[in-house]
């Protein structure tokens, strides 16, 4: 087996297990009551981290570039209660525009 297939096999097995651990081992049962407070806050914590890493994340460095303008446009669109589709399109268009003129 080549190195590439070894990497693919190990990472695929690990990823499948990471995604399946909840549904396969605990599926269909409600979570213990004292955990619901934690689970309710998982989305805000992880989504905020995803926003940060997607906007300023680089290769072990913080990179400030056109993505910030896109996010700013998204903030305005969200404040104006634009639908999800519009928010995403506006952010992409603003970012692309900055890159085009920069």
């Amino acid at each position: 087996v080549s190195d590439i297939w070894l990497v693919i096999g190990v990472v695929a097995a690990a990823t499948i297990a990471l995604k399946a651990v909840g549904p396969v081992l605990l599926g269909g049962r409600p979570l213990p009551a004292h955990l619901t407070g934690i689970v309710d806050l998982l989305a805000p914590a992880v989504l905020a981290a995803l926003v940060v890493t997607q906007v300023v994340g680089g290769n072990k460095e913080i990179v400030l570039d056109a993505r910030l303008v896109g996010l700013g446009a998204a903030v305005v669109a969200i404040l104006l209660r634009a639908p999800l589709l519009a928010v995403v399109v506006i952010a992409a268009a603003a970012t692309a525009l900055v890159r085009l003129v920069a």
């Binding site: 909840g22 605990l26 981290a49 680089g58 399109v89």
Partner: protein
């Protein structure tokens, strides 16, 4: 609240499907240029189905980083799926095999759009959105490997900012309570602080720990 349908999830994710296709395409281009064959690239996209981890594998091997560091980078990037998977566990029903297959459609974007307005998560929204993303990602990969660089970089079209916009648009309505706001601020701060020091993926896993402020005594 009427029950959501698979179609609703597919509709919600549609704009992100375009971005997923473009990034799948650029993954295919990169994989092809790095010496991965069509079979290897497609098996990666169908079994791993996690963009950042797949890019990490290809780019690590491309610079001669060795298989151990490629595996480590990819697994760290996907580690966040463990807490997300556990939090979604109550949604999944049926046989173990069915739960195993459906759980593979959990990715950041399908998870994010599967939250209903009432704050609960919906399996049909997640599966509908996940199937669209799965199709877009894999078709993009195949086209990228076979056709090469036909449309340019996704970032030229601002598509790298599309994901951040999606996550922010889904985050904002959730920070209605003081605790949710605290979790978001703490999570974002942890991620920002760790980006310069930690391997990719670690900032997000560490930020997930911010949800522990919701702990109540049993």
């Amino acid at each position: 609240v009427t029950e959501a349908r698979y179609r609703d999830g597919a509709r919600r994710i549609a704009p992100i499907g375009v971005a997923a296709f473009a990034f799948g395409l650029s993954f295919g281009v990169l994989a092809g240029a790095t010496g991965f064959g069509l079979l290897e690239s497609v098996v990666m996209s169908t079994t791993i189905f996690a963009g950042s981890a797949q890019f990490a594998i290809v780019s690590t091997l491309a610079v001669g980083g060795g298989i151990a560091s490629a595996v480590l980078a990819a697994v760290l990037l996907n580690a966040r799926y463990a807490p997300i998977s556990v939090s979604l566990a109550p949604l999944f029903h049926g046989s173990r095999i069915r739960r195993l297959f459906e759980s593979q459609l959990i990715v950041d974007e399908s998870w994010a759009v599967s939250r209903r307005d009432d704050g609960r998560y919906d399996r049909r929204l997640l599966v509908g959105a996940g199937l669209v993303l799965y199709a877009c990602w894999n078709v993009g990969t195949v086209v990228g490997v076979l056709a090469g660089d036909v449309v340019g970089e996704p970032s030229d079209f601002g598509l790298d900012a599309a994901f951040a916009a999606l996550f922010l648009a889904i985050l904002v309505p959730q920070v209605r309570s003081r605790r949710a706001l605290a979790a978001a601020v703490l999570g974002g701060t942890i991620a920002l602080a760790l980006i310069p020091f930690a391997a990719a993926g670690v900032p997000i896993v560490a930020a997930a720990a911010a949800c522990l402020i919701g702990w109540r005594k049993p």
